[in-house]
């Protein structure tokens, strides 16, 4: 599979097409890329460029029509749905633009939810959920429901939930898209801290180039489902 041991994500000629009536839309069209462990990558592009589809493929939420996708040494294209669920539980954590917290659950319950699917023992669930909430600074809001929280707090809770099963890769789909710039910066700082302290690989989808330049080590540009270019972010060192 070409995993040299330091490669967290690798796609080779990855293809994902959607049918819309009689026409076929190439959402991801022959994308080949690789991400090292602990790397922070930003996927950039206009709406419909295929960046979210690529992220969903890496997340194991979607299946490619062709090509190869290997994450943490696991060939996702060959997995069945049960194996993919297992993969999503343990290998990746996701945050979304619209937070995607379960509205009728408290923050604590939302954070505990992935551990239920991972069949983590009850006694461990509590300590790990509390630790994840503490890490994102929400220990005192754990019994609140999402509707009682600000957008930034909800995204922090979503981050805590993404981290709770200790994934190796964090996938963030427009994580600041619904936040004001100050809150967005707070969230991005938190993600960067996780990337640095836990050596967690981060793949972030965004259409904000300045944001990507501020946090990501590498920028990958997509257009019409194709990989247009990828550049090392030289500005990052200056930002640090």
């Amino acid at each position: 599979m070409g995993d040299n041991g330091n490669e967290a994500i690798k796609t080779v000629s990855l293809v994902r097409h959607y049918r819309l009536g009689r026409s076929v839309i190439p959402a991801v069209d022959g994308v080949s890329l690789a991400a090292k462990r602990g790397e922070f990558i930003a996927l950039l592009g206009a709406s419909g460029s295929g960046k979210s589809t690529l992220l969903n493929l890496i997340a194991g939420l979607d299946r490619p029509d062709a090509g190869e996708i290997v994450v943490d040494g696991q060939d996702l294209a060959s997995m069945d749905s049960r194996q993919l669920a297992q993969y999503r539980r343990h290998t990746v954590g996701m945050v979304f633009q619209s937070f995607n917290l379960v509205p009728n659950m408290t923050l604590y319950e939302n954070v505990e939810l992935p551990m239920r699917f991972a069949e983590t023992p009850r006694r461990d669930r509590k300590s790990r959920a509390l630790e994840a909430l503490r890490r994102v600074g929400l220990s005192d809001r754990m019994h609140h429901r999402p509707s009682e929280m600000s957008g930034g707090e909800q995204q922090r809770a979503a981050l805590a939930r993404a981290l709770v099963n200790e994934p190796k890769i964090l996938l963030a789909d427009e994580p600041t898209g619904n936040l004001d710039s100050k809150t967005g910066t707070e969230i991005m700082d938190l993600i960067r801290e996780l990337n640095r302290t836990l050596q967690m690989t981060v793949v972030m989808v965004t259409h904000e180039k300045p944001l990507a330049e501020r946090y990501a080590g590498r920028l990958i540009f997509l257009g019409d489902g194709k990989l247009l270019s990828e550049t090392e972010n030289n500005k990052l060192g200056a930002a640090r």
């Binding site: 969903n56 997340a59 939420l61 979607d62 749905s81 049960r82 669920a85 297992q86 999503r88 539980r89 343990h90 996701m94 979304f96 995607n100 917290l101 379960v102 009728n104 659950m105 939810l113 992935p114 239920r116 699917f117 991972a118 939930r161 099963n165």
Partner: protein, 461 residues
């Protein structure tokens, strides 16, 4: 998953409660219908059992009557239905009671009344077990103080005759008033009957080759009077199905036997060579359980006697009730089937509402099986709760109908009865059936929820 399912059920509390109530009504209808069927079956079995018909075998001597056909030359004499036969029957496993069937005609009058105030009636014997007969449900007076006492129980219509009251042709089982019964209880009844005397009759003049020349068996018939104390009055005849004609005067069986009343079989025993001894016209064999009737009946037949029971009629009755229960069950299940559509509807609605939530769960690592299991638990929970509610509701409906029926019966001067019975197996069966139906109903929604594309589901608003 169970906790998640429980949470989901609580979240849409009203809708899920109404669906559960629907299942409850369905199960209640099933329980109500079946418990009515079972209750009626038990009621009939109880009544028939108490009639003495279903645990009794009627034994007669073989070749008792051959009509006008000529007797075959090599006719083997039938085994006499005598005391040794009676003892043999008593020795059969499963036999509870063996007693001879008595039926004779006698003349009766109240002691102290004029001789022209006498009445003819058929007189019969009652075994001690007759006390459990349904006829004694509204019995007035006391049962015999022993099995060999000069006491008598009479039918109400015979009591009416003794008191010179007008007959009630429309209802022969019409009750006497307590005052009328009081006039009879404790009174002596003078019973005149024909007795088979133990004395051997003088042989008839013998002709050459006449069988009687070598067979001196025979008996005299003597008119006897016997005082009998009236102990009680029954409105209907106990073990009516066992008798021919209306037996209005009933003696304790052992006492009746001791009176040596002339029986129809006596004439036959007089005619048949070698049967001059005491022979019963028929013997009743009561078994401990009606299930044992065929087995005991076979053994009696093997001993060389005719045996008859109406166990086949009982089998047909059971079959009829099985069909009745089946049809009632099908009708009862219809409501449950309708309720199961409610489950499908509720869960399909839940999928639409929780589409995004399902997407989130899948993104967090829930497998298709996890999602399916959550919906199954929800359906099963509604089944268990609805089943429990339905059983309670069905039981309550049963009690109310039973109560209402008994009020109606009471107003019509009929005795209270239980037409309703909810056995444990019905409770457990209804619960299991409810859960099963709920699971079947939940299969489609659960499968649909499990197959949701997480990407599509996450896009859903």
């Amino acid at each position: 998953m169970v906790e998640l399912a429980g949470r989901n059920l609580r979240e849409a509390g009203l809708r899920n409660s109404l669906t559960t109530l629907g299942i409850g009504v369905g199960v209640a209808s099933l329980v109500a219908m079946l418990s009515l069927g079972i209750g009626l079956q038990q009621f009939f079995n109880r009544q028939l059992g108490r009639s003495g018909l279903f645990d009794s075998i009627f034994v007669t001597q073989r070749q008792e009557f051959r009509g006008s056909r000529p007797q075959p030359a090599d006719l083997t004499p039938p085994k006499p239905l005598d005391d040794s036969a009676r003892k043999a029957f008593e020795g059969i496993t499963g036999v509870d009671e063996v007693y001879p069937y008595f039926s004779a005609v006698g003349e009766f009058r109240l002691e102290g009344s004029k001789p022209d105030e006498s009445h003819f009636s058929i007189v019969g014997g009652l075994p001690p077990s007759a006390r459990g007969s349904e006829a004694f449900d509204d019995f007035q007076g006391e049962f015999y103080s022993g099995d060999n006492v000069a006491e008598v129980i009479i039918l109400a219509d015979f009591g009416r005759l003794l008191l010179n009251l007008p007959p009630e042709p429309a209802n022969s089982d019409a009750k006497l008033t307590p005052e009328q019964v009081k006039q009879l209880l404790g009174k002596n009844l003078v019973f005149r009957y024909a007795q088979r005397s133990a004395e051997t009759a003088a042989p008839a003049p013998a002709a050459a080759g006449d069988a009687a020349a070598t067979d001196s068996s025979g008996f005299n018939i003597v008119r006897k009077d016997q005082n009998l104390r009236i102990m009680g009055v029954v409105n209907s005849e106990p073990y009516r199905g066992l008798r021919q004609g209306r037996t209005s005067v009933l003696l304790p069986n052992a006492f009746a036997e001791g009176l040596n009343m002339i029986q129809p079989g006596d004439v036959r025993s007089l005619i048949r060579p070698g049967q001059g001894g005491k022979v019963y016209s028929s013997i009743v064999v009561r078994v401990t359980k009606s299930k044992k009737v065929p087995e005991v009946e076979d053994q009696i037949k093997k001993l060389g006697y005719n045996a008859f029971s109406i166990v086949d009629a009982s089998r047909n009755l059971t079959l009829a009730f099985t069909f009745l229960d089946l049809f009632l069950g099908i009708f009862g299940s219809l409501a449950l089937a309708v309720a199961s559509l409610g489950i499908v509807n509720t869960l399909v609605m839940a999928i639409l509402e929780r589409r995004r939530e399902i997407g989130i769960m899948k993104a967090l690592g829930a497998s298709d099986g996890d999602v399916k299991w959550i919906f199954f638990v929800e359906a099963g929970s509604m089944g268990v709760l609805g089943g429990g509610l339905g059983v309670a509701l069905g039981w309550l409906i049963g009690r109310v109908i039973n109560f209402g029926t008994n009020v109606y019966m009471h107003r019509h001067d009929l005795r209270s009865q239980d037409f309703w019975y909810v056995p444990l197996w019905l409770i457990l069966g209804a619960l299991a059936f409810s859960v099963l139906v709920s699971w079947v109903a939940g299969m489609y929604p659960a499968s649909r929820a499990a197959k949701l594309d997480p990407v599509e589901a996450l896009r859903h608003d």
